[in-house]
Symmetry: C2
Subunit: 387 residues, 2 copies
């Protein structure tokens, strides 16, 4: 087991009507709030009005229109400007992981004098950040319980995972009822995203019985509950369990003491969604089984055997490579069964920019250091197999 | 799933030689330190000298001799007095869970003007506590990652679990090497304690696939690794995994959203160790299978089936009560196999005070509200079956 240094200081306030605690929570942070949100779904479900009502008496400045795969320009830059102009005390992010990711970059940029890209690109280390509170309306990214966010820069096709220990939300509100209206395709993509967060950590050089058991439980819980949420979008217990299972995705708790992993599927998918702005979870679902197939070897097969037997219940008496191949097929079949388009062409990506994307990934994501190292050629082959 | 409000702000610094970070950590809390420890085992393993060396330049006041089942008088009272006399900034607890539990009560008492028992007995709610840093030398209680501690008062035979959100350690250092010298019987008792923490949460009215999977992984990891630690006390990976698995025991993460449980085996065991000062983990191991047998019924059998199939691999095709009984027997057999004395007589307890203890438990522990409610008569019967 490797040494580690771990904290997740975020307070999770979870369950039906939990945002009634919002005034009590916000009173600890000052009166000037930047309220961030996306395209307006929070208005449709009545959450926007509820928040404004709960925070009457606060000075609220709004940043709306934050997109999926949130953009450095204009969203992060606008948010930083608003924080500085209005001397904001705290950011309240209401929406999915993209709104929260964007808000994290804003929180750091607001207390930095230079170009916020210096921070996101790790040229400069943040010394502080504004406090962040969030109300999550989509079960997927786990951003509500970690200190990272992914920011896209359209002018350079960069999509960077920006991680800094100042960026843990102070408080995350999770009311499963707000996810009842998430459409089936977004529910499925959220499940694929959360499952891939676990897989990125599961497929590694060395793990423990404890961590493996936690991760296998996470995967099984996500599969069972995503199916239930898709069958009945208002199944409270299924929405709740899926929401909780997503929360652990990226804060490191699944891999304490494991060898460090460099998240190869995320590295590859970031290029797809940076170049084509596709839904992150769908990109991950498409890539994952092709990546698995590509890296299956005598060196990696035993992890796939463990995964196949413990997650999918495949007969442990079969040949090792048989089990691994069945496990990979089961992964593909599950994503297909919850309605995810399982080819790149279906999400509007053809072969034309594969070389360029593979080059970008190879240059920027360090996948030569992955558990199963990937060269530019490997990456291009995985993209091609995903067409 | 039930609503919950959860945080564990403690920073875990884990692994071989991790205490080299002690000076950096302590520099954040001020220069006046109360160093708390037990009977001197930290001197034998060289940890005491190492700590003194790392903290040269600090003003260190010592409270030593803290016993297992730590005592209100003299330990808590002495610690509070020292903190007030010396205007202590931070408590550094070095040892097992008892030293840390005692230090938590001291941390709260140090910032309270009245009798510290007011706090421990919940007559008065603490408004603040001194910061606590710990270096853990025994894998067992999970106190390093929760905000509770158990304090015994010999004059009244009270043993109270004192929980307050001010009592999370700021930082916990966990170096598995410091557990190499823990004797086999203490290793086994630590395993039983940590397993029972999970069982107290597993056997409940409603849980989720996710939480159940986490808890089943915790139980399996503890069993496998305790056996390895007993076979080879210097097996680093086994000591490390056991240490990590113990850490999650009492901070609530295993039971987020589950129905609240009132920890019946702990309620009963607290009387045994309050009246007879036995080793807590041994008392739990003795009681647990007898409690299981006592509460097995048509209402509870399905949880025991899940436990038996998922933790012990019992054939799920058998009759439900057969599976449950095999699971209970397997629990007993495991504790016996790691060398735990599995009868009360072996730890010096006879029938003479069973009535008195059962009355004390029934009056103070609220076990009539347990998942499987226990009356004074039930408690006496479980004690008698444990003789």
């Amino acid at each position: 087991m490797h040494n580690f240094d771990y904290t997740t200081p975020t307070r999770l306030i979870f369950g039906k009507d939990c945002i009634s605690k919002l005034p009590e929570v916000m009173s600890g942070f000052g009166k000037k709030v930047l309220l961030t949100y996306g395209g307006g779904s929070i208005k449709k479900i009545g959450l926007y009005n509820k928040v404004r009502e709960l925070l009457s008496g606060y000075g609220i400045v709004e940043l709306s229109g934050i997109q999926p795969n949130p953009k450095y320009d204009p969203s992060v830059l606008d948010g930083v400007r608003l924080c500085k102009e209005h001397d904001i005390d705290v950011i309240l992010a209401v929406g999915g992981g993209s709104v929260l990711d964007c808000s994290k970059a804003i929180a750091a940029g607001a207390l930095y004098d230079g170009d916020p890209w210096d921070l996101i690109s790790y040229k400069v280390k943040a010394k502080a950040a504004l406090p962040i509170v969030d109300i999550i309306t989509l079960a997927a990214t786990g951003s509500e319980y970690d200190c990272g966010g992914v920011i896209s820069r359209t002018d350079t096709n960069d999509k960077i995972g920006y991680i800094d220990e100042h960026l843990y939300p102070a408080v995350s509100f999770l009311d499963p009822v707000y996810t009842f209206t998430v459409p089936k395709n977004q529910t499925a993509a959220g499940c694929a995203d959360a499952m891939n967060h676990i897989m990125e950590q599961y497929f590694c050089e060395d793990s423990s019985l404890l961590n493996d058991g936690f991760m296998e439980a996470g995967l099984k819980s996500l599969m069972v509950n995503a199916e239930k949420c898709i069958a009945d979008p208002e199944d409270y217990n299924a929405r709740a369990e899926m929401m909780l299972a997503c929360t652990y995705g990226c804060n490191g708790i699944y891999a304490l003491g494991n060898s460090q992993s460099c998240w190869p599927c995320h590295g590859m998918e970031h290029a797809l969604s940076a170049y084509y702005d596709i839904t992150h979870g769908e990109g991950l679902a498409i890539i994952t089984p092709r990546w698995m197939k590509h890296i299956l070897s005598a060196k990696t097969v035993d992890r796939f055997v463990k995964y196949g037997v413990n997650v999918f219940g495949i007969d442990s008496g079969l040949d090792r490579f048989d089990i691994a191949e069945k496990a990979i097929q089961a992964t593909y079949d599950f994503f297909l069964s919850i309605g995810i388009p399982m080819t790149l062409r279906e999400v509007g990506i053809d072969e034309s920019r594969i070389g360029e994307m593979a080059h970008h990934v190879a240059e920027n994501e360090g996948l030569e250091n992955a558990w199963a190292p990937l060269t530019e050629k490997d990456i291009a082959e995985i993209f091609t197999a995903s067409l």
